[in-house]
């Protein structure tokens, strides 16, 4: 079980990193080219697609970045309690809040999926022939992955609460 989780973890991290590097690299490249085109080439190229592309990339960066933030436990939390209390209360409260987070994200993911399905029936396209719903499908996908991340965290927390900590580390 643990091995499988760890393997999935490594794969997920690699996939996120690759996606983020490609997205950010493309964004920098396209944005700079737009400036060169406008300032130095007097708009020799028609780049309406570039505006569209950069805006879509922001959405994708936000979504993939959010999945990565969830894996690294970097989402913004207020979290007063763990500064004040410690011990089993904190451990169990983490289980509860992460279960809650998983449920909320699953709900958002479902709503986003409904929206994307509807968009599909509208048939909007960008870059002349790419269906818009396909590009927006990153939103439900990301929320499913985030929800899954929170569930994995809950699982790990429970293993830690019940598992004999020291013995496990030794083995």
């Amino acid at each position: 079980m643990r091995k499988l989780l760890d393997r999935l973890e490594r794969f997920g991290r690699l996939a996120e990193n690759s996606a983020l590097v490609i997205l950010l690299g493309t964004m920098i490249g396209v944005s700079v080219f737009q400036i060169i085109n406008r300032q130095l080439l007097d708009g020799a190229f028609s780049l309406t697609w570039a505006d569209e592309l950069v805006k879509i990339i922001v959405l994708w960066l936000a979504m993939v970045g959010s999945v990565a933030a969830c894996r690294d436990n970097k989402h913004i939390r207020i979290d007063l309690i763990s500064h004040v209390l410690s011990g089993p209360v904190v451990a169990w409260s983490k289980v509860v809040v992460d279960l809650f987070a998983a449920a909320v994200c699953a709900m958002i993911g479902w709503q986003a999926w409904r929206l994307v399905r509807e968009e599909r029936s509208w048939g909007d396209t960008v870059f002349s022939d790419v269906p818009l719903w396909l590009l927006h499908a990153i939103v439900p996908l990301a929320f499913v992955l985030i929800s899954y991340q929170f569930l994995v965290r809950v699982l790990r927390l429970i293993i830690r609460i019940f598992g004999p900590d020291e013995a496990e580390r030794a083995s």
């Binding site: 590097v21 737009q34 709503q111």
Partner: protein
């Protein structure tokens, strides 16, 4: 409804991710006034309809690259070569370098880690007291928030639909007021601590300049480009990202290509966290405007206060409490849409409101219980958190005075803003 809010507050206090709390309150709101629940997804998608937002990932990436390279060391060397000869020299160096670095890296706490590690031991070596150093470095970590191209300013502009260029110009004087007041305090505290002043050396200035030669054009291109209106904010961000990449990775080679995926990830994790909060807050704002919450708030506030001045007093008190609980990014996206109509009702300028809001939230970095800088400094310098609280307290008071000045002298913010 009150019951649900209570549960959400308890969950937030126990550490549920803030975006899930906001999303739930939005969805419960939609449910209660028969709005289609899909609206939350629709609002999330609007992240891709705000062209200015491209500036956020680009500036964040550039900031992380800079803080991972030796740029902080070069910046400190150059500032000390230029200002180190003055009384209280190194303290002033600390303030100036931190403000500059924070403006470029977007106030995410990296300043304390990148510059504090250099400045804290250097201050000690120069004979400044430990408490003073700790307080100075901790409070410098969020200085510079009001200078271009800081991320909170950009985010405020996006949320409030105010010209970001105007905000950048409006932040200059208030930011300088903060710098000068902290600088004056630093000199005054160390008036007994007379050391032989280090002499000014042209040779050192020249060497420091030569060392930083590839980074020098950056502030001129970016700040010059933005303030003159030659570049739009998102264009300046793209230039910065590319330029910093070329300088640090290809020319100085202080960051290897192998490090790059990690740095991209770390910076985009922050971007993901901020934009996620923005996305769900758009949804909750949609609900609140639908439910006429701002109008009800305005009516409520109008009963309490009657003049713009008393409104500002109330606002300031509210922001101080808010800043102690919420980080600056969440506070902007959640609260600004609610207070904008109220401020309008009292005739407070939206640009001035933005500067007041950001200046007050800057104090939030230093106020217990959740001041980000306090925790970063405690962790980074291995000091008990209570010790950091008390060392930072005098600086907090000075900053608070500066915020009061900034609030009640709107001319400070509006002098350079072209009225329209």
């Amino acid at each position: 409804m009150i019951f649900v809010s209570l549960i959400l507050i308890v969950l937030a206090v126990f550490g549920a991710p803030l975006f899930t709390i906001i999303a739930t309150s939005a969805m419960v709101g939609f449910q209660s006034n028969d709005t289609e629940l899909m609206t939350i997804a629709l609002e999330l998608l609007s992240i891709s309809q705000m062209p200015v937002l491209t500036a956020i990932p680009l500036f964040t990436f550039a900031g992380y690259l800079l803080s991972e390279s030796n740029a902080p060391g070069r910046l400190v060397r150059l500032t000390s070569a230029m200002f180190g000869w003055m009384p209280g020299g190194l303290a002033l160096v600390c303030l100036a370098a931190c403000a500059f670095f924070t403006a470029f890296t977007g106030a995410s706490g990296v300043t304390i880690i990148a510059l504090g590690a250099i400045l804290y031991p250097a201050l000690k070596q120069d004979g400044y007291g430990d408490r003073f150093n700790l307080g100075l470095v901790t409070s410098s970590g969020s200085l510079g928030l009001l200078f271009a191209p800081s991320l909170p300013i950009i985010l405020y502009g996006v949320v409030a639909k105010v010209s970001i260029d105007d905000l950048f110009r409006a932040g200059i004087l208030p930011g300088l007021v903060m710098l000068f007041m902290l600088g004056g305090y630093s000199i005054w505290v160390n008036r007994e601590n007379r050391k032989p002043l280090s002499s000014f050396s042209w040779r050192e200035v020249r060497d420091a300049l030569r060392e930083a030669i590839w980074e020098l054009p950056l502030p001129f291109v970016v700040l010059g480009g933005i303030y003159s209106g030659f570049f739009a904010v998102s264009e300046a961000a793209a230039i910065t990202a590319l330029y910093v990449f070329i300088a640090e990775v290809l020319i100085y080679r202080e960051i290897t290509l192998r490090d790059l995926p990690r740095i991209v990830r770390e910076s985009m994790v922050l971007v993901g966290a901020i934009l996620m909060i923005l996305g769900v807050s758009l949804a909750s704002t949609y609900y609140m405007i639908d439910a006429e919450v701002p109008q009800k708030l305005l009516a409520f506030v109008a009963e309490l206060v009657s003049s713009p001045t008393s409104f500002l007093v109330l606002l300031l008190l509210f922001l101080l409490v808010l800043g102690a609980i919420l980080d600056i990014f969440s506070a902007i996206v959640l609260v600004v849409p609610l207070i904008l109509p109220i401020a309008d009702g009292f005739g407070v300028d939206q640009v001035h409101l933005g500067i007041v809001f950001l200046a007050a939230m800057q104090l939030g970095y230093l106020t217990p219980p959740v001041g980000l800088n306090l925790f970063i400094a405690s962790y980074r310098f291995n000091k008990p958190i209570m010790h950091v609280y008390s060392a930072t307290f005098p600086f907090l008071i000075i900053l608070m005075l500066s915020v009061i000045l900034i609030t009640f002298l709107p001319e400070l913010s509006l002098l350079f803003v072209s009225g329209d």
